[in-house]
């Protein structure tokens, strides 16, 4: 069994997914393709200070006109 198939099989149990053997095979194929793409990103040099792209904001930054 491929490592991808092993992983997908284990994850399907952990996530309570009831997948047939055939579907596990197909999902493992997708997963293997994504793993190759993840490898491209893993090779990008980054430092611990390279932060994720932002979205979360606790609240709008106070403007000078309305500092509170």
């Amino acid at each position: 069994m491929s490592p991808e198939k092993n992983y997908v099989t284990a994850m399907s149990v952990l996530l309570d997914l009831n997948l047939s053997e055939e579907q596990l095979e197909r999902v493992a194929e997708h997963f293997a393709r994504t793993k190759q793409l993840a490898g491209l990103l893993g090779a990008v040099p980054m430092t611990p200070w390279d932060e994720p792209a932002e979205l979360y904001q606790p609240c709008p930054f106070p403007s000078e006109a309305n500092p509170s």
Binding site: S12, V27, H30, V44
Partner: protein, 465 residues
């Protein structure tokens, strides 16, 4: 020759046509052609007639008419339409209650005088580039109904190409406006990430989803885009704080603009006709230099991973409890996404910040960049593989190879309909890319292409008007 949205609006303003006549004609055209193209999943006839009558009443009363007065349009079926169930291409969502209110952009269209004709076909939950939808049938390409209309906004591209509506709205996460624009040969605009509010649309990938218009000519695309603009503090990703109209500068040409053509990755994944289309567009815009886009393969990988993680997370409960009700061609991708390690997702988001800075740095030296929109023209419906320069690629994900890196940066892109040789008469679009918040520059360049006569919509199925 198509009748454009602005032709219709002008005829209504002058009293040459009533909005009701226009809508009746389009409803008849949809009824007689929808079996061929399968673009519409719902026709909102009563609403359309009521909206048309209200435009005619305004004119009769001598009131000023809004910018899209009487213009028929339709929306991808992930936009909320009051009183209609928002399917988002799925079977599962049929169980949901009808939408209580219109989506923000549908409200904008209504305020601008648009007349809504209905909801349009799409890939289930927007996860696809082909609109092969088992629940509602595939959207068919009006230029060859055995071929895909592209996706995920395939119904939007097909409806405009088939002259069922002159304007449509769609969404684009990884290419879902630009791919159907390219394959159907119509104009499309994916604005800057954060330009248009997504409130009231069914989400696919929160951190990459964009909404935007399709049209059968550039002026109508520009009018529609300006009408859609409005800050919206209720969409956390709507970063635009004011309207920046594009119409005042639309005809300024490209003199003084620095225009380049993307190479490397964008050649590798483009077939000869796709390269020819981009090269012709570049020549018409006076581009002489080849430009290297930063890290396109890594950007595509990051977009792919973020899409799979966020997209599958939204459907985790249903993937566990009723996986059999999902679209067969995309459910395995959703399941794979659900299992992705968190470190892949975090790495992709960290990469995105670096990538954003690299792309913004590139635009310090360029105003407009050109690239093909799709590697190939429309594939046959059901095709599993496409050939790009002698290499076999899985068809459904590969149609987005050239669009994903650009939308991941959030740049605005106009998809221009081009007609290169050796496609069997099929269209193949070109991306006109600008720096974030510079839709005006992309649209100015697009106007030059349209004026050249090489970028144009060829409707095969004109209505009566």
């Amino acid at each position: 020759m198509t009748v454009t949205a602005m032709n219709i609006r002008d005829a209504i303003v002058k009293g040459e046509l009533s909005a009701l006549e226009v809508v009746q004609d389009k409803l008849d055209h949809i009824q007689s052609t929808n079996a061929s193209f399968n673009a519409f999943t719902e026709v909102t006839r009563d609403r359309a007639l009521a909206e048309a009558k209200s435009i005619d009443a305004l004119r009769k009363a001598g009131e000023p008419l809004p910018p899209l007065a009487g213009v028929p349009y339709a929306v991808k079926n992930l936009f909320d339409i009051e009183g209609v169930v928002t399917l988002a291409g799925s079977k599962i969502n049929r169980d949901n209650a009808p939408a209580a209110a219109d989506a923000f952009l549908v409200e904008r269209m209504k305020a601008a005088g648009g007349v809504l004709l209905g909801a349009l076909n799409m890939d289930e939950y927007a996860y696809g580039f082909t609109t092969e939808n088992s629940h509602y049938g595939p959207a068919r390409n009006p230029h060859d109904t055995a071929r895909s209309a592209g996706g995920s906004s395939g119904g939007s591209g097909a409806a405009v190409a088939a002259d069922q509506v002159p304007v449509a709205l769609g969404s684009d996460t990884n290419g879902s406006i630009r791919v159907p624009s390219s394959l159907c040969g119509v104009w499309g605009l994916k604005p800057t990430f954060g330009r248009l509010s997504r409130r009231g649309s069914y989400p696919f990938v929160h951190s990459i989803d964009h909404l935007g218009p399709f049209a059968s000519d550039l002026l109508s695309l520009a009018y529609t885009y300006d009408a859609l603009q409005s800050p919206d503090p209720h969409d956390p990703a709507c970063h635009a704080l004011r309207v920046q109209p594009c119409l005042p500068s639309l005809q300024q040409g490209v003199a003084g603009l620095r225009v380049g053509i993307l190479t490397d990755y964008f050649d590798t994944y483009a077939s000869p006709p796709a390269r020819a289309a981009a090269q012709l567009a570049a020549k018409l815009l006076g581009a002489t230099d080849e430009v290297h886009w930063p890290s396109p393969a890594q950007a595509r990988a990051a977009a792919f991973i973020i899409t799979a993680s966020e997209g599958s997370n939204l459907h985790a409960h249903n993937l566990k409890t009723r996986p059999q009700d999902f679209e067969p061609v995309s459910v395995d991708r959703f399941l794979s996404g659900l299992m992705q390690p968190a470190t892949w997702y975090v790495q992709a988001q960290r990469f995105r910040r670096m990538y954003r800075d690299q792309v913004n740095e590139l635009f310090a030296n360029w105003d407009v960049l050109i690239a093909p929109a799709t590697p190939v023209p429309a594939p046959q419906i059901g095709a599993e593989w496409i050939d790009i320069n002698g290499l076999r690629h899985p068809c459904r994900p590969a149609l987005g190879l050239l669009t994903q890196p650009i939308s991941f940066a959030g740049c605005p892109v106009v998809a221009a309909p081009m007609w290169p040789d050796n496609t069997g008469g099929l269209p193949l679009g070109v991306q006109i890319i600008a720096a974030p918040w510079r839709e005006d520059l992309a649209l100015r360049a697009a106007a030059v292409l349209e004026d050249s006569g090489y970028a144009t919509v060829k409707a095969h199925y004109a209505g009566q008007l």
